[in-house]
């Protein structure tokens, strides 16, 4: 029996790949989806300590 070879039309393949990729890109921008996919471990929070006194603080003078 002859095996049917399916020929993929390169242009069609390219088009479908681009559309798929673009769609995934948009879907990933939805916050709900993004939060699931992004790793919580990499999140770093930068906060300064409110009890610390920078040099620029007004009203604080040299002893």
């Amino acid at each position: 029996m002859e095996q049917k070879k399916s020929k993929i039309n390169r242009l069609k393949f390219l088009n479908y790949s681009l559309i798929t990729g673009f769609s995934l890109f948009i879907i990933n921008k939805i916050p709900f989806v993004r939060n699931i996919s992004s790793s919580q471990e990499n999140k770093i929070t930068i906060k300064f300590n409110p009890l610390s006194i920078p040099r620029e603080k007004s009203g604080v003078k040299n002893v």
Binding site: F13, T20, G21, L24, N28, I46, K47, K61
Partner: protein, 1026 residues
């Protein structure tokens, strides 16, 4: 060294002949060939067009591109997404977006506890510099202090408490560990709780430990430091009955004799020492001290000596007693002691230069009361006692500071206490061991048996920022805050207490060390709060420190002011008893003959005792003497190398009794024969991606009992071992002399030197000898406004390298790794060139910081095909990174070889993207572009600081001034050798240095008009030698 060097040798050339390595001195052919080539062989080796080009056709490529776009869409969801920016609802008044905030704090990189100012941007620290108002360091910190910021953003910090089960660490939570530990401590009523720590300088922490002992009465504290001045202090106590060794007034010492003392390099008080010392190296004030150094291994202090003597440590006692005897004979001192040591026989026995000894004797005689003899902390107690006596008899006690003394709050435990601890462990008398941010398994001598002993204790708890050797033996490892996340106070001197405050909330789930102890003290894991130690510290200050001040300010204002300044000063009476006790004088074994080797174990210039081993900037900082990066080595003299039959990079085996170490050899000019010098702090295990496996662990050679001192061993056996280990040295990189031309550095004004005598008799002697007028085919450009320039005073530059690390931090310079350094690809914008002159056995050393000279007629600008490098109207040679295509023609044309090419994206290339880690990226200075692969970079004269100053000037409605800008290297230099400013403004301080009598330009004859002026080094040698 290769065998194929030229027969011509420059050793007999009477003119000063500057050389950087033995290969250069002996005209090694490989090196000469290397000098011809701009770049190392193999620059394009990584890319082979025959095998690496893909056979993929364009059509196939486009098809696959479409498919991969689908996957890229998923992967790209986080790419470049740094999160959200949310505007302030209520902005703190002191915060202006885009402008930095500065916090005063204290560095804990070593026991100097220098005052620092931490620069923060958008809440994260990015740069550390000295606090200009701090009385001790006065605005300067060392390379370790500068690089400490990298430790904060170390991706390998422990992020959460760890519990060990079957040799595997797993994360747990604080409540679990606190409850368990409190349970163990509470039940330890009849067994000891051993608490081990480094020396503590904090009065509040010590108060906390006292309270801890009250709650847990079986607690016993052990303090240690790998390098300490316990021997010096012990000798002082024997001589004077009490107290600690005083601080020295280096700025008043006209003659200094340093005995195996690197007081300019690694002394605890180094920053203050170098500032005071270089005040007596002032060409304008015409004040010059004379430095004699007697040492076995060439050190940074030895490099800056006017006269150097090679004396092995075991012979130092005989040398000092010889000086005493001779000065007594001459009537210079009056001593009832008769040591009967013939100094000139000593000189003959050890082949010393008799002239130098005569000069030394004459100088000590003439400058009685204005000189100082200073013994290194590694020498024996007897040497220190002899030195104290000599200083006493010469009246040099004038130079001891009597108004301020060093504090030694916790002290250091004797080694016998650690032996006692090990005995107790073996006898099952220890319930628990707590390590407070220390690493005794790595630091303590192996023959104490501590490492074996603690395996017998079930409850070992280690509080540490990162994993280390000691953590591996611990049941729980508790992560602590970095210094920049912590509160604290420090008292290292009478009359001054420094404060540290957190500039950022803890990045990970870590706690402050003292807060952890307070929680255990209160016997409840629920007692912890984020501010628990802040409240304790503040209360202690209110009760014990504030009352010493006048009560005109209420406490809160006092506290805020103290935090704002970073320190407080107050009057504190100092008992200084300087009555010498003659019964301390008793010396055994004065004359020591040692036919075998002597081993000196020294502190690393960049890693300290090893605590900075996981810091890439410090590992890559070239050693100030040998210029080696990334490893330690055994430094030996040329004669010793010949005797052992070894060449550079060969391995030797150093053994003392049953302790052995194999380590590569480096042939160090100027070392004493039969002496091995090795730095500690290397060979770390389980200590991070950068530290682990780098260098050789010479701590193995330490012993609880030494026949000389804890860091010096005699009767050492050394033999050649099979194998080689390549050391990465930068000393032959970036040559800018012509091959086969001897003494080019002298002829071409790369290194220009004179003597103090020449300068005092004719201040313009340099201009007379070196003045050259050059014509140019180019029409000169008129710089009518500010024109930026720099001057570097080579009399004050000691070659320490602090400026190099400061530049790395400020300008986001990447670490490249040892393999790339071997290919001359280190990326440091500023390098310290070190030249020897004279013979290899007794060289003189000259150092010269080399950076982009910002030449007016820069040869790099003409050859760039894409105009990526241009010249600004204010005199800067600019670099436009996004125009650069990487031809490297500019680097080829640069005569100073100061341009650096990014052969890789080193952030990605080094250690598999270690520097691409999101936490590590927080370190970057947002004001400076982060360069990628294929782009040339170089010193920019800190253009970001110039731009900021210009913006500030515009806001104030005035023109920018030269004095408004301080470059990173200038700010960091502890001796103020670097000056920066406006060449065109005669009213500025910088103008004087630009037009100095001793000023010269490197490679002036090329007529490219560099804007960096070097102030020629003057050696303070005797007139008859001048």
């Amino acid at each position: 060294m290769s065998e194929n060097f030229d027969n011509k040798s420059s050793i007999n050339n009477p003119d000063p002949n500057y050389w950087r390595s033995f290969k250069e001195l002996y005209n090694d052919r490989d090196l000469l060939e290397k000098k011809f080539n701009e770049f190392e062989n193999g620059v394009t080796d990584d890319f082979d067009p025959n095998t690496n080009l893909s056979g993929l056709s364009r059509r196939k490529f486009l098809a696959l591109l479409g498919a991969s776009a689908a996957f890229a869409g998923v992967a790209c969801s986080d790419y470049r997404d740094k999160g959200e920016i949310v505007a302030y609802n209520i902005k703190p008044e002191e915060v202006t977006i885009g402008k930095p905030n500065y916090y005063a704090s204290t560095c804990t990189g070593c026991n100097s506890n220098c005052g620092i100012l931490i620069k923060t941007r958008e809440g994260r620290p990015i740069k550390v510099d000295g606090n200009p108002e701090h009385p001790i360091n006065q605005g300067k910190i060392c390379a370790k202090g500068q690089a400490n910021i990298l430790n904060l953003y170390n991706p390998e910090r422990i992020k959460s408490p760890l519990r060990k089960n079957y040799n595997i660490f797993s994360e747990t939570n604080w409540q679990y560990v606190d409850d368990n530990i409190i349970n163990v401590l509470s039940n330890a009523t009849d067994k000891e709780i051993a608490i081990i720590s480094n020396k503590i300088n904090s009065p509040t922490t010590l108060k906390l430990l006292d309270e801890f002992k009250t709650v847990y009465p079986t607690s016993k504290f052990y303090f240690y430091e790998l390098f300490n001045d316990s021997v010096r202090n012990s000798a002082w106590n024997k001589c004077y009955g009490e107290g600690t060794f005083p601080l020295i007034k280096w700025d008043e010492a006209e003659v200094i004799l340093a005995l195996e003392s690197d007081f300019l390099g690694v002394d605890e008080n180094r920053i203050e020492n170098v500032r005071l010392f270089t005040q007596m190296r002032d060409v304008d004030a015409k004040k010059f001290n004379r430095l004699y150094v007697a040492e076995a291994g060439l050190s940074l202090t030895g490099m800056n000596a006017d006269y150097r003597l090679k004396i092995r440590p075991e012979n130092q006692l005989e040398f000092v007693l010889g000086l005493l005897t001779e000065l007594n004979k001459k009537g210079v001192i009056k001593s009832s002691f008769n040591f009967n040591v013939n100094l000139f026989e000593f000189v003959k026995k050890f082949n010393l230069d008799e002239k130098r000894i005569k000069y030394l004797l004459e100088d000590l005689s003439e400058k009685k009361g204005k000189s100082i003899i200073y013994a290194g902390e590694s020498l024996s107690e007897e040497v220190h006692i002899a030195v104290n006596l000599l200083n006493e008899l010469l009246g040099n006690t004038n130079l001891y500071r009597k108004d301020i003394r060093k504090e030694n709050l916790s002290g250091i435990s004797d080694i016998t206490e650690f032996e006692g601890l090990v005995e107790k462990i073996k006898n099952n008398k220890v319930a628990a061991i707590i390590h407070l941010n220390c690493n005794p398994v790595y630091h303590l001598p192996e023959d104490i048996g501590y490492k074996e002993a603690i395996t017998k204790v079930e409850d070992v708890f280690t509080l540490s920022e990162t994993m280390n050797e000691t953590c591996q033996f611990s049941k729980y490892v508790l992560p602590i805050n970095h210094n920049f996340e912590s509160w604290g106070d420090y008292k290292v001197r009478t009359g001054t207490i420094s404060l540290s405050q957190p500039v950022i909330m803890p990045i990970y789930n870590t706690r402050q060390l003292e807060a952890i102890l307070l929680t255990w003290l209160k016997k409840s894991s629920q007692a912890y709060s984020d501010n628990i130690y802040h409240d304790y510290l503040k209360l202690n200050w209110q009760d014990n420190i504030y009352p010493k001040f006048s009560q005109s300010l209420n406490f809160d204002k006092f506290w805020y002011s103290a935090l704002h300044n970073g320190f407080i000063t107050f009057q504190e009476d100092v008992k200084s008893n300087f009555a010498f006790k003659n019964d301390s004088i008793k010396f055994d074994n004065v004359s020591v003959s040692n036919n075998s080797f002597t081993l000196l174990l020294k502190e690393s210039y960049s890693l300290g005792d090893g605590r900075f081993a996981n810091n890439g900037w410090l590992q890559e900082l070239p050693h100030p003497v040998s210029k080696i990066t990334w490893d330690n080595y055994a430094a030996v003299s040329l004669n010793t190398a010949k005797q052992l039959g070894v060449k550079e990079n060969d391995l030797i085996e150093v053994s003392i009794e049953n302790r052995k170490l194999r380590i590569p050899v480096f042939i160090q000019p100027g070392n004493a024969d039969n002496t091995i010098v090795i730095e500690l702090g290397y060979g770390r295990e389980n200590s991070g991606v950068i530290a682990t496996g780098v260098g050789f662990n010479a701590n193995k050679l330490l012993s609880k009992k030494s026949n000389y001192s804890p860091w010096i061993y005699t009767n050492v056996k050394v033999v050649k071992a099979p194998g080689k280990y390549i050391l990465a040295s930068t000393q032959e990189h970036h040559n800018f002399d012509i091959p086969r031309e001897q003494d080019l550095h002298f002829k071409r004004d790369i290194v220009v030197e004179g003597t103090v005598t020449q300068y005092l008799s004719n201040p313009n002697f340099l201009k007379d000898e070196h003045h050259k007028e050059h014509e140019s085919v180019y029409k000169p450009f008129e710089y009518t406004e500010v024109k930026w320039g720099m001057s570097i005073d080579l009399n004050k530059c000691l070659g320490c390298g602090d400026c190099v690390v400061a530049c790395n931090v400020e300008n986001n310079v990447p670490v490249v790794g040892k393999d790339q350094v071997l290919k001359s690809r280190e990326m440091q914008w500023l390098r310290i060139d070190r030249y020897y002159s004279g013979s290899p056995d007794d060289p003189k050393v000259s150092t010269q910081p080399m950076l982009c000279q910002h030449c007016d007629l820069a040869p790099c600008e003409n050859v760039c095909p894409v105009v990526a490098t241009t010249h600004s109207p204010d005199g800067l040679n600019q670099m436009t990174y996004n125009r650069c295509v990487g031809t490297r023609y500019c680097s080829n044309n640069c005569p100073y070889k100061v341009r650096r090419f990014n052969f890789y994206n080193f952030r990605d290339h080094f250690r598999n993207g270690y520097q691409e880690n999101p936490v590590f990226a927080l370190l970057n200075n947002p004001e400076v572009t982060v360069r990628s692969r294929g782009v040339m970079e170089k010193c920019t004269f800190c253009i970001q600081r110039i731009s900021e100053a210009r913006s500030e000037a515009i806001r104030e409605g005035r023109k920018v001034r030269g004095s408004d800008v301080k470059t990173a290297c200038q700010e960091a230099c502890p001796t103020n050798a670097i000056k920066f400013g406006d060449i065109n403004n005669p009213n500025e301080e910088f103008y004087h240095y630009r037009n100095h009598q001793l000023g010269y330009y490197s490679l002036a004859e090329l007529n490219i008009k560099p804007n960096v002026t070097y102030i020629a080094k003057l050696r303070n040698i005797r007139t008859e030698e001048s």
